[in-house]
Symmetry: C2
Subunit: 200 residues, 2 copies
DNA sequence: CTGACAAGTTGTCAATGACAACAATCGGGA
DNA sequence: TCCCGATTGTTGTCATTGACAACTTGTCAG
């Protein structure tokens, strides 16, 4: 029975989720180094050791946070693709890029964390599979585009590597830029991607 | 002089540089969270408060470290460009990419730190100008290429944005990949960049 | 009912970053 | 040359933190 918020019940209800949410706020507002388990515990109104029941480690909390980040980003990308389903390949890639960059702008610190964890060799297998799902999503419009003759080549590999690199790189480099400027710049980047550097 | 068993002079000689070097090693070996000022001090053979004379803050140390990273990377890129001076635009871009990715592979944690600091609004002006010099270097072969008719367009802006995004993104995404695979993949990416996604 | 397990609590410890007050060394000008 | 101020390093201290141990409270299956 959820007893409501009366005089703090002994059991929090969903401390795990509350900690992750708090962590994300703290991460965004004060940077990764300022993130303290004890502070999160205080915000949640529990004792300083309570987080230990849900996360073995500070690192475990960060891993869980990164994981939610990947899930959320992948979800948004999938939604963007579904919405642009019947448009051209270029439009779909642009939709993908817009979404990715949007995420990078309003969750810059989280994105950093996500890739920092991904690069760590001690990363959990869950994290790796989350990254895979993300990449699969990016590859989808490319495979479709090649099948429909809108994108050159028949091996999605090199094209996917290029597009995901450009996507991630652009997002990472422009995470601190104002959304309007980014939007404009982004359209140009997708155009250059499709038309290539070499003169036609 | 109470020169005990260790012939350690009261003054270290160049503590500042020693700390930065130690910090880079520790960063690479044990990750950013394990980096402790006191440990660096111990490694340098000085007291736990000595680093405070050279760096106001732990953050200040990290900023200085990031700065050396940018300087080193820019230096390598400039050298790579100079070496490839009389070749075609595509070769020069490939040289740039190789160098950038090489840096990312053997200094992955440092590169993360560099961009983490860059994204922080409280970053020092020195850091910003270091980033600018880096971008200028990347833009150079593009301007040259457009002037020589090897790269389409006359505004380097969009092309530079695309190339630097792809460069940085590819490096970031492949920092944990084996050098051989990366080398192969990299050549394909540069090819796709030049020829574009759209069928010719 | 009950007892095992999950979730939270208090207590403690070593490590850390920051700072203050003090000491040794160095270097430049009188 | 000598002295005095600026640098650089030292010891001491403090609050905060992450981790762990031992204990308590609530929950739920049988």
């Amino acid at each position: 029975m959820l007893d409501g918020m009366a005089d703090r019940p002994y059991h929090h209800g969903d401390l795990r989720a509350a900690l992750i949410a708090s962590a994300e706020r703290a991460l965004a507002e004060r940077g990764p180094s300022a993130l303290s388990l004890r502070e999160l515990a205080r915000e949640a109104g529990v004792s300083h050791a309570a987080p230990g029941r849900h996360f073995k480690d500070k690192q475990a909390l960060l891993d869980a946070l990164a994981l939610t980040g990947f899930d959320r980003l992948t979800g948004r990308l999938e939604h963007a693709l579904d919405t642009a389903e019947d448009t051209g390949a270029r439009t779909r890639v642009l939709a993908l890029a817009r979404t990715y960059v949007g995420f990078a702008i309003d969750s810059a610190a989280l994105l950093d964390l996500m890739y920092a964890r991904k690069h760590d060799s001690r990363a959990s297998p869950q994290l790796s599979s989350a990254v895979e799902r993300l990449l699969d999503t990016v590859v989808r419009p490319i495979i479709d585009g090649q099948a429909g003759g809108e994108i050159a080549g028949d091996d999605p590999g090199p094209v996917a590597a290029t597009v995901s690199a450009a996507l991630h790189g652009f997002a990472s480099l422009n995470a601190a830029t104002s959304p309007e400027k980014v939007e404009e710049s982004l359209a140009e980047v997708v155009r250059v991607l499709f038309e290539g550097l070499a003169p036609r």
